[in-house]
């Protein structure tokens, strides 16, 4: 399916969606964080979209906002999109978990929580997966400082 067609279908699913293809090979959908779970649920379940395979889930720190990038693919219809969601709150960022839509999100969200400190609603056991439970700070954020262990060139 062409990106324009995809955009037309997806546009009807939720409100306040932004679309862009600039600087990317995929169609990018930016969704407000309140509509994330609803949109993902429809992307997964609508038969003409059928995004059943989340092949990459990336945590992101854009400097001001924190967020998550979902790379989605449909194994039957062979089309791909990118869904982005972001939040301004750096102190207590909370997003919805999509682990019951794509089970792979369970582990990827743990990773994102561990490195970016983004908390996920309804996640079945949010814990520090890689780092020790008492680790201070969120290492992959841009403002993370660790003078002892980080070598800055």
């Amino acid at each position: 399916m062409k990106n324009e067609d995809l955009q037309n279908i997806i546009n009807g699913l939720a409100e306040n969606l932004e679309f862009s293809e600039e600087g990317s090979e995929f169609l990018n959908v930016i969704v407000p964080k309140e509509g994330l779970y609803n949109l993902c649920n429809q992307l997964r379940s609508k038969s003409d979209l059928d995004f059943d395979y989340a092949y990459c889930i990336t945590g992101m720190d854009w400097g001001k906002e924190l967020g998550v990038i979902y790379h989605l693919e449909s194994t039957s219809l062979k089309h791909k999109i990118v869904v982005k969601v972001m939040t301004d709150d750096r102190e207590n960022p909370i997003l919805d978990s999509v682990w019951d839509i794509w089970r792979t999100a369970e582990f990827h969200e743990l990773e994102i929580y561990d490195f970016f400190g983004v908390k996920f609603n309804n996640h079945p056991g949010l814990r520090r997966l890689f780092l020790t439970p008492d680790w201070d700070g969120w290492p992959l954020r841009k403002d993370y400082v660790d003078e002892a262990n980080m070598i800055v060139k």
Partner: protein, 373 residues
């Protein structure tokens, strides 16, 4: 006593066992927190990070040429393919088209890497099941591939041979001949692998029907590579999204639908045959061409996001680079196959025995630095 009284009096107690971080079957420093009832596994909770080096953060500080060598250290058994993934992403960003020669050489070396990785897996698989001899037979054949690599790239494990724009230097003059010799040798040895392990009644009983993963679960959990193809999920990027020279070779995607450990085993054995056939198709006529497309000494990717997927020996490796136009990437994410495959483990190993968990893990072929990154 009634049945209920017996049941309450005979109640067994669940207990925790730490499998790892130092455990012979963990293949590295994977720690699994097992909840066990007798021999039956109730829950598997992985605890990672024992070999986490934060490669993604290090990439944000390095230049694009320097990123490549860090990926050697992720999935060290498919280091060439990891290098290729980063190079392809950077080339995509720079809009460089590498010469046919580079594409073909990358494909051949990638397939040799896959062979070497699957050989090591076969040896270790036997060892996890208690047949120690397989390890040495597999290493005998793997050494030959490592020799080929050493002759061309100078290293046996952490290659760093592919650079953005092509290859670091041309292949060694002996490369073609030695590769052909290896293929002839290995075509006689692979049937021996089958005779020693594949048909063995104990092995079949240990593997068949163990660790069942359905196709739907495989897709939903993002399982890739032989794990997914053993469940019937056609996830081979070489077919789906051909890169390098995979669009000009003819090969079958190894696909089985049983979804058990034995299917995953057969996928890898079949992939070894297919890899040999791919190499044979390409090795005789490597086209002439530039070894390296000229790039600036300081590579600056244009502003934007670049994503490239490749098929490593373990599955789909995705490289996501977010560039702001400077000489360093703004954010690099490696979607490693092992991490997604590991998330399946708890789902499919509830209610099996400890020995089955070990067999399942062996059939998943974990490389822990690939999971931890």
């Amino acid at each position: 006593m009634t049945d209920q009284e017996v049941n309450t009096k005979m109640k067994t107690e669940e207990y925790f066992v730490n499998m790892g971080p130092q455990h012979p079957a963990a293949h590295g420093v994977l720690r699994l927190l097992l909840t066990i009832d007798g021999e039956i596994i109730k829950n598997v909770e992985p605890d990672l990070g024992y070999i986490h080096r934060s490669i993604e953060k290090m990439c944000e500080r390095d230049s694009y040429q320097q990123i490549v060598h860090l990926t050697d250290r992720m999935d060290y058994l498919s280091s060439h393919i990891n290098n290729e993934a980063v190079c392809l992403t950077v080339e995509k960003g720079l809009e460089i088209e590498v010469s046919d020669r580079v594409k073909v050489i990358r494909t051949i070396i990638g397939e040799l890497t896959r062979l070497a990785s699957h050989q090591l897996w076969w040896g270790v698989m036997g060892m996890d099941l208690g047949a120690l001899t397989t390890y040495f037979y597999a290493f005998r054949d793997r050494e030959l591939i490592n020799d080929i690599f050493e002759e061309t790239c100078g290293a046996r494990l952490t290659m760093n041979y592919f650079v953005p724009g092509g290859l670091m230097y041309d292949i060694h003059p002996n490369f073609v001949q030695r590769t052909k010799e290896f293929i002839t040798h290995f075509r006689t040895k692979l049937p021996e692998y089958d005779r020693l392990l594949t048909g063995n009644v104990i092995f079949e009983k240990r593997m068949k029907g163990v660790g069942l993963l359905t196709k739907e679960d495989a897709i939903s959990f993002g399982a890739t590579g032989p794990v997914a193809r053993g469940s019937g999920f056609a996830s081979d990027i070489r077919k789906k999204d051909p890169y390098s020279a995979f669009d000009r070779v003819d090969f079958k995607e190894a696909l089985f639908t049983e979804g058990d450990s034995y299917a995953r085993y057969k996928v890898r054995i079949m992939e070894m045959w297919e890899s040999m056939s791919i190499i044979e198709q390409l090795i005789d006529n490597i086209p002439e061409g530039n070894i390296k497309e000229p790039t600036k000494a300081v590579i600056k990717l244009p502003k934007g996001e670049f994503y490239q997927r490749v098929e490593t020996a373990r599955g789909e490796l995705g490289v996501y680079i977010n560039s702001t136009g400077t000489k360093n990437p703004y954010r690099v994410k490696f979607r490693s196959p092992g991490f997604s495959n590991l998330s399946v483990l708890n789902h499919i190993s509830k209610g099996v025995k400890i020995a089955d968990l070990v067999a399942t893990m062996a059939s998943f072929d974990f490389v822990i630095p690939d999971i931890d990154r």
